[in-house]
């Protein structure tokens, strides 16, 4: 697809230039691809004095050529004509990757009935080529018999070059945008609020070579623990982002039923091997905090081990037993590593884009990361890590970083929560209570009783505040040995419980506590629930 070295005899050099100008016109650059194709086809129609012009593009599976733009045979596009690669006129050009001239059009040479019905006698077609290979076919036709010249072929090849370039950049742009949007939509918009644990994350997509399939996720488990997921899909672009989406949903689904991170990773690996289409590989790490946040169980499928910083000690890579990446093979059960996370300790999960640099070993990057980490406030730690490891360079790979820190020891100090009076706050309140109650040494029966009594009181606040359109619920737990005293407060007007159900709620509250006191003041309602720490002593 080069410009002709010598102008043909059929026209003057000036004529030739004029024709080339018409199809390489810089003014066309602002048009979108659809309009550009139609405009170019129209100019080709006039320049080559042909009756029809059409562009067919290869579909995603590279099995069919699909009519995409046409002049003179618009029906071809409207009817969604598809030509199998290798068959007929266009199919032959796609396989041979060189111009084809047809002097006779009939069912033996042309597959598309529209071309025959239109009464086309002669056809000239050229391939649309890019660096990656064949993109499609551009062809022109005449109703009268026509002998296409070498010069016609060259001109059409220049147009094909332009069409191929526009189509390819458009495709790349669409894919890049879609992949970025998809990936963004799959990362948590907001990390969950977990009392006793502060966390933050950074995600920077690669600037070179398209977005990758890095992701992280944090969510509460049904048993009151916290599940942390970080992973990296091998590959780039839309496909990697789509696979990441499937993996993310799969992990969330498995974590509903499984409290064992190794089981979650194992099931994921098994499932990935049944994903249809392209073979895919990903590294995944699933870490589960138990409700009181003192211990973390980690299962890793080929992912980089997290870094733990215990206050007063240097940062250290957690010795995590690693299994193969998911999608590689069905191995034996993934190993689980249990990590003690003392109060005040900081944990750092990340993907390889943070530490991997061309020309330097991975452990150099990991050492730099350890050097940048301290057991401090997560936002400033995150900012400092990004500044020290990424700085101003354009990342060549996605970077995902998730940092969390356990609250420094509260001893047996009170638990204080102020949450929006919304249904979604109820679980957060329960999870915080579970952690606090376990820390003060409450047994399972005491935990169940207090979760229920406080839950009923909070639900009452939420139901009323919700109808009024907002408000806060305050929960305060304190140890007054031998009792735990829970106070639930709202700032709204007290409404008597409605119907049998809310009445039942108050009955439950009283049955689960040693003493319940409800005070309806002008500023709001305060419910004080007292429960002995002794297991059997509720009522």
């Amino acid at each position: 697809m080069s410009l002709p070295d010598e102008p043909g005899n059929a026209s003057t050099a000036g004529d030739q230039l004029r024709r080339i100008d018409a199809v390489t016109d810089a003014a066309l650059a602002h048009l979108n691809v659809e309009d550009l194709l139609l405009e170019l086809l129209e100019r080709v129609q006039a320049l080559l004095e042909v009756d029809t012009a059409a562009v067919l593009l290869l579909d995603a599976a590279a099995e069919y050529l699909v009519a995409t733009a046409a002049r003179g045979i618009e029906a071809e596009v409207r009817q969604g004509v598809r030509i199998p690669v290798g068959k007929g006129f266009a199919g032959r050009i796609a396989v041979e990757k060189k111009p084809v001239i047809l002097k006779r059009v009939d069912h033996t040479t042309v597959l598309n009935p529209i071309l025959q019905e239109r009464g086309i006698r002669s056809l000239l077609g050229v391939p649309l080529l890019s660096r990656a290979g064949i993109l499609g076919v551009l062809h022109v036709g005449t109703l009268g018999a026509r002998r296409f010249t070498e010069e016609d072929v060259r001109l059409l090849e220049i147009v094909a070059d332009r069409v191929a370039f526009a189509t390819e950049s458009r495709r790349a742009e669409v894919e890049r945008t879609a992949a970025t949007v998809l990936q963004r939509s799959l990362l948590p918009a907001r990390l969950p609020t977990v009392p006793g644990l502060e966390m933050t994350a950074r995600y920077v997509p690669a600037e070179l070579g398209g977005v990758g399939g890095d992701w992280y996720d944090v969510f509460g488990t049904p048993s009151g623990g916290l599940c942390i997921v970080i992973g990296d899909v091998v590959g780039r672009g839309f496909e990697a982002a789509a696979v990441m989406g499937r993996l993310r949903s799969a992990v969330r689904a498995h974590a509903l039923y499984e409290d064992d991170p190794a089981e979650v990773v194992g099931r994921l690996s098994h499932q990935v091997q049944r994903f249809d289409g392209h073979r895919m590989v990903a590294t995944v790490q699933v870490a589960m905090f138990e409700p009181r946040l003192a211990r973390l169980r980690v299962a890793s499928a080929g992912h980089l081990a997290p870094v733990l910083v215990i206050p007063g000690q240097p940062a250290a890579v957690v010795e995590v037993a690693n299994g193969p990446p998911v999608g590689v093979r069905n191995g034996p059960r993934y190993p689980v590593t249990t990590v003690d996370v003392p109060p005040g300790a900081l944990l750092c999960f990340y993907t390889d884009g943070l530490v991997e640099r061309r020309g330097s070993a991975l452990d150099v990057g990991v050492k730099r990361l350890c050097g940048a980490l301290v057991a401090g406030p997560v936002e400033s730690v995150c900012a400092s890590v990004m500044a020290q490891l990424i700085g101003g360079e354009a990342p060549g790979d996605d970077v995902a970083l998730l940092v969390m820190r356990r609250q420094a020891s509260a001893g047996n100090g009170p638990l204080e929560l102020v949450m929006p009076a919304l249904p979604g706050s109820l679980k957060t309140i329960r999870d915080a209570m579970r952690g606090w109650l376990l820390a003060v040494g409450a047994g399972p029966r005491v935990v169940v009783d207090l979760l229920l009594a406080v839950g009923e009181a909070c639900t009452n606040v939420v139901e009323h505040a919700y109808r009024r359109g907002g408000g806060m619920v305050e929960v305060y737990l304190e140890l007054q040995l031998p009792d735990v005293v829970a106070t639930v407060r709202d700032t709204g007007r007290w409404r008597p419980p409605r119907g049998g159900n809310r009445g039942r709620g108050t009955v439950f509250m009283r049955k689960c506590a040693s003493d319940v006191h409800i005070d309806h003041g002008p500023g709001g309602t305060t419910v004080v629930i007292r429960r002995s720490l002794a297991e059997a002593e509720a009522r």
Binding site: F219, G220, T221, P222, S223, G224, L256, Y257, P423, G424, L426, K427, R430, P444, V448, D449, L451, L452, G455, E456, T459, V462, E463, G500, N501, R502, R504, G505, V507, F508, K511
Partner: protein, 115 residues
Amino acid sequence: MTVATVDVSTGSGSIRISLGGEIDLENAATVEQEILGVVSDGFTAVSVDLTNLTYMDSIGIRILFDLASRLQESDMVLELIAPRDSPARQLLDISGFGALATLSPPSSQPPSVAG
């Protein structure tokens, strides 16, 4: 987010619904719809297994009461399964479910007449 699991297995004429996770104000309506969606007149016995439920309060009990009343109207038997030391069992025992459903395993003391 409060998450509950609803698993269903059916036998000839019977259906067993296993609930897991937590049920509260946030997800009660969803859970109730899922349960009502699988219970039809075609069954003579319905059992609801609460063994793996880690949290439930009066809202969950209301769902079970409503289910029990519906089933009673259609002459269907409701069995509630909850081990004696489970959180759900504690609630069932103080709610007075004996008249509307069979508790399994049976309560160690005779059930109270009213909730």
